[in-house]
Symmetry: C2
Subunit: 338 residues, 2 copies
Amino acid sequence: MQRDSTPNRSITILHVAKEAKVSKSTVSLVLQGSDRIRDATAQRVREAALALGYVYNRRAAELRRQSSNMVGVIINDLMNPFFAEVLVGIERKLVDAGYIVLMAHTHEDLDRQRRVLLSMREQNAAGIVICPALGTPNSLPKEVKAWGIPLVVMVRSLGSGSYDYVGSDNERGVYMAASHLLAAGHRHIGFLGGQSGAVYDQRLRGYAKALEAAGLPVKKNLIVLSAPSRPGGWEAMTTMLQVSPRPSAAVCYNDVTAFGALAALGEKSLRAGTDFALVGFDNVLDAAHSNPPLSTIDIRPSELGERAAVALMARIANPKIKHQLYLAEPKLVLRQSG
Amino acid sequence: MQRDSTPNRSITILHVAKEAKVSKSTVSLVLQGSDRIRDATAQRVREAALALGYVYNRRAAELRRQSSNMVGVIINDLMNPFFAEVLVGIERKLVDAGYIVLMAHTHEDLDRQRRVLLSMREQNAAGIVICPALGTPNSLPKEVKAWGIPLVVMVRSLGSGSYDYVGSDNERGVYMAASHLLAAGHRHIGFLGGQSGAVYDQRLRGYAKALEAAGLPVKKNLIVLSAPSRPGGWEAMTTMLQVSPRPSAAVCYNDVTAFGALAALGEKSLRAGTDFALVGFDNVLDAAHSNPPLSTIDIRPSELGERAAVALMARIANPKIKHQLYLAEPKLVLRQSG
DNA sequence: CTGAAAGCGCTTACAG
DNA sequence: CTGAAAGCGCTTACAG
């Protein structure tokens, strides 16, 4: 009954076979580009397919072949441009390699994450790359491996189990940022925004170590927590401006919180770079044109996505390779904010 | 041979049937929640499935049933938070309705767009929502309809053919923005950024009409083109600041160009809202916490995405309904930039 | 209430 | 070089 509205959907290799006066095996073979078929025959088949408006049914082929060209990509927070850039990198690499991406956004919701994971499993995904939602159990990689689905974890590490992981050297990155501020003469430096998870712990540690290396104390009131978002950064800066003695600089949990901080500063007629030094983390594209442009730690977000795609494809190609670990090397990029 | 690494993949309803001592038809029926099966039997089947670690193979089911629960979503520019928000809205609505999304990013590349469209067709997508890449031929909706795949076009309209469309009233929105600036006493108002496509034409027209309604001439040198991005907005503002007499206000092509303009202003130690009035378009989440917060035209990006999802589902449910058109009603939201 | 059989659109040994 | 047959994991009339 779908026939009239979907004219081409109903035509199969069987129709093509009849039209070209060959068997359906032959049609299948030429569609796969086999060289076992004589040129003339192949030509005839291709013409028949074209004439009939035949379209390959990849799902049927994959069912028979027990394969899949779909990979699942699970993102925790697409509203953060960092993750949007990561996603773009993953998608580009995957599509260029002939995969197609099943994408899901969890919004840090564990329940949603579980549902989409199940869904991808039912759909027979060839692999999954996940930026885990906050609170994801460390057992996840083992569980997915038990399903027989290759997995790469991104950005947020999940304990010390063995799994493929692509992220950045957070501790070192923040250490570099703080050291830069220290070298510029700042003595009251805050750590602005963010609040929980492995990434937070790593970045905070980099901050603490840099201060300690400079013989400076780590003061609780200079570490202000917030949601890892613009509004969060705005609030964090607002409270940070009230501690006394007032800090003269801060390294931010990430670029997005830094952007919020920039806004809070502006509201008080303060300008980052002259009245307060600020450095972010990620080097999101927007950082080059914020007001003012943001000094930050560059971890090349879209490249991170590409690395994850490559790691996943490597594991799909050979499930037995040893676990892969890629940590982007942080680079300090100086702009006007600090 | 995949058996050891993918333990559960190989178990099918046949195994469950044997374990539960029923036929595979019965298993299928209970998996579908049919009430034709006695409770005791159903219970036994469910236990067997659980015990064996059975996982439903949805692709096989869909092949047999000639159905699909995947919908394709094609986005032109994920680096623009507007589209990221749209995507999030689409995804949420679709996943909540039991669909799964095949996502592709074209990066305004027509060739890529064609490839992913084909790919989605091969995968038997139940429907597609597309934010068309710049330069997409107006014939696209007709073509996809000929494939038998429900389609909804988003954000950028594609000529006057009949197809489902979800977008915003661009002309009216910009008209409102410009009128606001006019009412505030500005007489030299620029139109900043953007450069081509239906959306651009519509927004520019709103600008022109507002000026005309106020008896003001539309001056070529106050309309400065740019890429629809932060760097684009930055450049556009930089050149706009050089025209003389210098305009005192501008309506921007979209929020992202406005953000770039904010940065250019800052670089010259000018502040939007006091030295120059700026209003954006979209009301992206970031607009509330830019430096300074951006006055803009709110078209509720994520709601737009949800509307598109709803329109697509309606069309899938009934391919014969008449064409759907949803235009978000623009609302002026005043913040500090103008 | 449950089972046997056919079939969705492909691929892949196996013959010839 | 090409065809006939079996099968991927399901669903769905059709019997009983």
